[in-house]
């Protein structure tokens, strides 16, 4: 269980998060939606302490990670896998080396075991036989899948997805969503997806939360969320330019 309590964060005098309260249930996929620049990625980066809040706390399995030092934080981070928006693969390494990297760095596994795990992870994301390629040599979709393989290879309890389908065509986006669902069914991880790919992302989500004006304006199961009468939620779901939600 991840619990976010009164999380506040400002950048250069602009308050992006104004007191986020949110619970992310274990074993479920929760999607955080919201307009561009609403602070979704900022919120996501607080969940594994890539960013530190100005105020508030983030509880991961009963530990407030905001107060942790580097060493204890690294122990908590081992529970997480992250799929970054641009996949964030290390460009100096092949896809295989990228996926093997967390195993080589953070486990005592022997090379044959690492090879087995990496090949298996690459196969799960349909990248068998592509491990020798460098990130610069593959498409955006393949990068995302390799990033997903890297996030999965350590079998983390929690996986954070930062806009997993941004920059992909609808078919590729759908295939990434299906892949996330398939892997979730297999590994039962706690998933947190930041996306504005609606309604597609709803199909793979157990719960939805909407971030607007620096706070969570609505959170609930997908059905509850779809039935919400909150004017901000309605406006966003209907992509209406008129309404309480500021549109630039």
């Amino acid at each position: 269980m991840i619990r976010v309590v009164d999380l506040q964060k400002s950048f250069g005098g602009q308050q992006v998060l104004k007191g986020i309260n949110l619970e992310l249930e274990t074993g479920k996929i929760t999607t955080i939606i919201g307009g561009s620049g609403s602070g979704k990625t900022v919120l996501l980066k607080h969940l594994n302490a890539l960013l530190r809040p100005d105020r508030g706390s983030v509880w991961v399995d009963g530990t407030d990670i905001v107060k942790l030092g580097e060493r204890a934080l690294n122990e908590i981070r081992r529970k997480f896998g992250v799929l970054f928006q641009g996949a964030a693969l290390l460009d100096s390494m092949t896809l295989y080396e990228n996926v093997a990297f967390p195993l080589r760095e953070k486990t005592r596994l022997k090379e044959p075991e690492i090879e087995k795990k990496v090949e298996s992870s690459l196969a799960q994301v349909d990248l068998s036989g592509m491990g020798y390629k460098y990130p610069a040599e593959v498409s955006g979709g393949m990068k995302k899948r390799a990033g997903l393989a890297r996030a999965l290879v350590t079998e983390p309890e929690i996986i954070l997805f930062d806009e997993p389908t941004t920059g992909l065509d609808p078919l590729l986006g759908k295939s990434i969503h299906q892949l996330i669902r398939k892997l979730h069914n297999e590994f039962k991880f706690t998933g947190v997806i930041v996306s504005h790919d609606i309604p597609e992302v709803f199909k793979i989500s157990d719960r939805i939360a909407m971030l607007a004006n620096g706070v969570i304006v609505e959170a609930g199961t997908t059905e509850e969320f779809m039935a919400s009468q909150d004017p901000l939620v309605r406006q966003f779901l209907q992509a209406d330019t008129e309404g309480p939600l500021a549109v630039l």
């Binding site: 890539l50 122990e75 997480f80 964030a88």
Partner: protein, 256 residues
């Protein structure tokens, strides 16, 4: 008037804080270098990129620097009938000043800029965040090996620069302009003392530190946008050049 003073004060505080951050960055690079795991393979890799890959440009600049020193030295010394001191003048100039400074400039241009651009690009594309998220400290993985490699590579490159520059001056002074080979080397042997070599060595080590420190810091703290990469690269090169010249004067004045 008071707002003007306030602005100066704010600027001074910001600059002092930035300076403090720069030193803390270097300190953490050394602290992480001492912690396991030892990144021996990465250190060797960066010795190759900083040292081996800069070799050609260092040799080329060394040869021509030596040749022009041979020409200019001969032209100046001939006015006093002192051409026989050419070896001495060239060796002292190269070993104490030009060797460390020019090879540091070459490494800054060749490798320092690439280092800053690479780290800035990693920052922009969230690769540094990815390392954090995998519980790998990016300072230990990216910065410490580069700093150690810089400390090892720079004196070696400077030594090579010194040798080829002295040979370049020999070719011009002795082979082309007719200075006696014996007096060229004898003058060198008589005037160069251990302190001169030590001075050049210490300078080159400190320049290796300055280049890797500044370039890594600027790359690591680049603005997370496309222009951030270019800005980090330009700033790191300019700052390295300035710091090398300032620090060179300071070390020369101490080690005279």
């Amino acid at each position: 008037m008071s707002s003007f003073i306030g602005q100066i004060g704010r600027y001074a505080i910001l600059q002092t804080a930035a300076l403090g951050q720069t030193f803390l960055f270097l300190l953490s690079a050394f602290v992480w270098a001492c912690r396991p795991p030892t990144r021996f393979r990465l250190i060797v890799h960066h010795i190759r990129t900083i040292g081996v890959e800069s070799l050609s440009v260092v040799i080329l600049s060394g040869v021509f620097t030596g040749m022009v020193m041979g020409l200019q030295g001969y032209y100046s010394l001939r006015k006093f009938n002192a051409e026989n001191f050419l070896g001495s003048a060239v060796a002292l100039g190269i070993l104490r000043e030009l060797g460390p400074v020019l090879s540091a400039f070459m490494v800054t241009g060749r490798t320092g800029s690439a280092m800053a651009a690479e780290l800035a690009s990693m920052k922009v594309t969230e690769q540094i965040d990815a390392l954090y998220s995998m519980a790998i400290n990016p300072i230990q993985y990216l910065v410490s090996p580069r700093v150690i490699a810089g400390l090892i590579s720079m004196p070696l490159l400077t030594a090579i620069f010194d040798v080829v520059a002295i040979y370049g001056a020999y070719v011009v002074g002795v082979q082309l302009l007719g200075v006696s080979s014996g007096s060229y080397f004898a003058g060198m042997e008589l005037s160069v003392v251990f302190k001169d070599v030590l001075s050049g060595f210490l300078k080159s080590v400190s320049f290796g530190l300055i280049i890797t420190w500044i370039c890594c810091y600027k790359g690591f703290n680049a603005q997370p946008m496309a222009t951030g990469v270019g800005q980090a690269t330009t700033e790191s090169v300019v700052l390295c050049f300035v710091m090398i010249l300032v620090w060179n004067y300071f070390m020369t004045s101490v080690m005279l």
